[in-house]
């Protein structure tokens, strides 16, 4: 049961049960689909961008507790952040989730997911929403530069 708590912290169970920003968005600026080939789970991410800022963000889809909680916390953390900060957070998070080490205190509530790094097969779960985000950001980058 101790092992268990390490990965499935209470906060994660809560986000799994009541995911935040778990809804369709009509007036999104960009959206992207994510897919975890290991399990077949899918996720849709919607972002509304105002200038350089993420003014709204939401997601839909199926997935395990880890992927749902990760997506849910991500949306909470990103709402209102600048795109540059979102990029930074992606890097910090990916770093934490693969190494288990927190090298920046700019990680917020995402800290509850530290335990995941011990389970290689679950790292992809935690990264699903984030990789989808990254796709969007890269897309947006491209749009920005070509404008």
């Amino acid at each position: 049961m101790d092992n268990l708590r390490e990965l499935y912290q209470q906060v994660i169970l809560d986000h799994n049960k009541n995911p935040r920003n778990f809804r369709f968005m009509e007036d999104f600026t960009v959206k992207a689909d994510g897919h975890n080939p290991l399990c077949g789970d899918k996720l849709q991410l919607f972002i509304k961008i105002d200038g350089d800022y993420i003014s709204d963000i939401s997601f839909m889809g199926s997935g395990c507790a880890i992927s749902k909680a990760s997506a849910s916390i991500m949306t909470e953390e990103l709402k209102g952040k600048s795109i540059a900060d979102a990029e930074k957070l992606f890097k910090n998070f990916r770093n934490m989730i693969t190494s288990g080490e927190i090298t920046s205190d700019d990680i917020g509530k995402l800290e509850v997911l530290t335990g995941v790094h011990k389970y290689p097969s679950r790292v992809k779960c935690a990264l699903l929403a984030w990789h989808t985000l990254k796709n969007i950001l890269d897309q947006n980058d491209t749009t920005t530069t070509t404008e």
Partner: protein, 411 residues
Amino acid sequence: MGMNNMFDLYNIRSNFPIFNQPDLPPLVFLDNASTTQKPTQVLEAVNQFYCRYNANVHRGIYKIAEQATEAYESVRDKVAEFIGTADRRNIVFTKSTTESINLVAYSWARKFLKTGDEILVTEMEHHSNLVPWQLAAQHTGATLKYIPLNKSGSLDMSSPERYFTKNTKLVAISHQSNVLGTINSVKEIIGYARDVGAKTLIDGAQFVPHSKLDVQNLDCDFYVFSGHKMMGPTGVGILYGKADMLETMDPFLGGGDMILSVTMEKAIWNDIPYKFEAGTPNIAQVIGLGAAIDFMKNMNIDSIDSQVRMLTSTAVSRLREIKGLTVLGHENGIDSTSVISFFHKDIHPHDIAHLLDTFGISVRAGHHCAQPVMDKYDLSASVRVSFYVYNTIDEIEQLISGLQKTMEYFR
């Protein structure tokens, strides 16, 4: 323990080192459809080879090379007898079921199929018995058709004339589903195939580990299975093929041992089965497989069958008692054993598998390399438990209590 448990389970488990590691937590291994554990007898046979007569086969005339050749070739006889053929030339050693199927897809299907021909599979296949035929169809212009799956867990054989036509040239089906545990009526299907003049390949990866096989009685053209799912080492598979089929086929891999003579311009193929065994074979693994077959014969294949059936039906009943859980297949009137897939209405299969692991219980979550089956049930994944002869009723109780704790935890 049930009445029909004719095993001294303690004694069986004592043959498997992995269940007897004093410094490790006890292992409740319920992922036997993926791979099975190995008894000492198998490990010993492999070690004896490496420690006493390790040499390459077929070419050396010195003592240990002759010994290695004899050991390797005697397993061919053993396999032949085990699956019910008198002709050792029917038995080709490969590295896995997957390679066995691909061998037929390359050397038979790509040679003989053409546009308009049909390959018939089922919606129940493991990817290994699906993707090779998709590739072969693409390559030859043949069409891939399939017998659909009923939600009850069996094949929809209501109108066979729709699937078996004069264009059907090959029927490739699994003997038993690795997701549902359903055993298909392959004899009937082979009959339909024969009626339209189609050849047949049966994927017995799940069936052979716990059931008596008689290829001569089935009268299929090809039959394939894996050593590692029947207590043998990883890295060895079997292809049974009728001699006249194997004779007409092109070789698969080119190289040493599969030719009689070679000049820079051309090669003359060796006789079957050697034509299909190019390069240094998986000698130690084949020898280990031989020991696994001996072990199975000692236990008696019918006893293995009834033990696994007893465990399966007990588990199905116990799982069906749990609210929120749905077991796929295993309906009345469907012959099924060894493998059980289920899902919970609220908890993701991977979370269930993960929690069970923290309780020391190994089960599988995912699509089990059979996505079309998952699609059928509108699932992306299920939890799968699968039994082998060393599992116990007590382990089923641990599974049930683990599931209950999981549901508690996720409430």
